[in-house]
């Protein structure tokens, strides 16, 4: 069961304004380098890709590597030209995708 990611961005923005988006997701980010008590390697399980799109257009995406610590925190900026929905996705090594959505309105 994946936990709900934490996302922070303003509810509304002026047209053309650059806003900051903060995201935090709960994940073990097991590097694959560690061994368990029996000496067996613990298989790698990380979020390998994060992507954010706004009204269907990509805004930001990045590849994550095993050295990134648990519960990855990602912060980036985006310019708002229209009201719409941000879609966030975190892709796990095992193929599961954690998704979230946030709406933003234009300031009147």
């Amino acid at each position: 069961m994946a936990d709900k990611p934490r996302i922070k961005l303003p509810k509304e923005a002026a047209k053309g304004e650059v806003i900051q988006i903060k995201t935090l997701v709960s994940h073990v980010m097991e590097s694959g380098q560690r061994k368990d008590a029996q000496g067996k390697a613990i298989p790698r399980k990380i979020i390998n890709k994060f992507a954010c799109e706004f009204n269907g257009k990509p805004v930001f995406s990045c590849a994550l590597e095993p050295a990134i610590s648990a519960n990855p925190y990602i912060q980036f900026d985006a310019r708002i030209d229209e009201a719409g929905t941000f879609k966030f996705s975190w892709t796990d090594d095992d193929g599961t995708v954690i998704t979230a959505e946030e709406k933003i309105a234009l300031k009147a």
């Binding site: 936990d3 935090l24 519960n71």
Partner: protein, 273 residues
């Protein structure tokens, strides 16, 4: 040649600025005045001993990864479990109002058990007696999450444990453990956290060993760590055989150490190294 001197000068300047930085950080540590008869003049939270970056991480409610635990437990709070068909909420209602101050006053005397119980034990008593559900294991994510969640409801409130009445023998026992040297390294809690707090040791500042931020998100473990696990870690580090988590020894110690930080604001979920 000239270039080499420039390099050296830069190195000296860098060293001096690091030294002044360390002093500046030292002077900045703010604490609260201790009550009369206390071991410290000023009680200082572990927060003040951490780096600027770690403190910033704790202060931002979104960035602080400890809040992942708080949010997880907020859902569990409403979840019905066990034979009685109850959730935490069935009896306690909204945690935000009804759990205020509860965590700040733990460990607390339990009349039925004739001993003090801490938050983890109280949660498990609720689960096994009132919900007829399986108690959670210590160190399990569920128990640590719920402890963090309940304690978070006292965020900013002063630590207010009672140490008189039936608690006093436990307080004395905790004090005795605090001042007893353990392990191959022959160190007591006091050796580091009373006598040497504020000093730089093992690439870190020794704190007063306050418990106001527990359960705390440890960057080293990348998860929320309950107090008794930290106690265990300390004892392991001095190469002693640790007491068992939730044992009477650790409970007495928890009570005594909480008193040493009496009046400090609860910081749960704190972020520490």
């Amino acid at each position: 040649m000239a270039r080499r001197y420039v390099g050296m000068a830069a190195a000296i300047v860098a060293a001096v600025s690091i030294a002044t930085l360390a002093v500046a950080e030292d002077a900045e540590r703010k604490g609260i005045a201790a009550p009369p008869g206390h071991v410290f003049k000023t009680i200082v939270s572990g927060y003040e001993f951490r780096s600027k970056e770690t403190r910033a991480l704790q202060d931002d409610d979104l960035e602080n990864p400890g809040f992942l635990a708080v949010e997880r437990a907020a859902d569990v709070w409403k979840k019905v479990e066990g034979g009685e068909g109850k959730s935490c909420m069935s009896c306690h209602g909204e945690a935000e109002t009804n759990m205020k101050g509860v965590g700040a006053a733990m460990p607390k005397w339990d009349d039925k058990l004739k001993k003090p119980v801490n938050l983890e034990q109280r949660i498990n008593i609720c689960r096994s007696e009132h919900m007829k559900a399986e108690p959670w294991k210590f160190k399990s994510r569920e128990l640590t999450d719920m402890t963090t969640f309940v304690r978070y409801q006292s965020h900013g409130m002063p630590v207010a444990v009672k140490t008189d009445g039936p608690m006093s023998p436990w307080f004395e026992r905790g004090k005795q453990i605090y001042y007893t040297r353990y392990g191959q390294l022959d160190l007591a809690c006091e050796s580091c956290h009373e006598r040497n707090n504020g000093k730089f040791m093992r690439a870190d500042f020794l704190s007063q060993g306050q418990t106001n931020g527990f359960p705390t998100y440890r960057l080293r473990d990348q998860r929320v760590v309950p107090l008794h696990e930290r106690f265990e870690g300390c004892m392991f580090d001095v190469r002693a055989e640790p007491f068992k988590p939730l044992s009477d020894e650790f409970l007495a110690l928890e009570l005594y150490v909480a008193w040493r930080g009496i009046g400090l604001p609860v910081e749960t979920p704190a972020v520490r190294n």
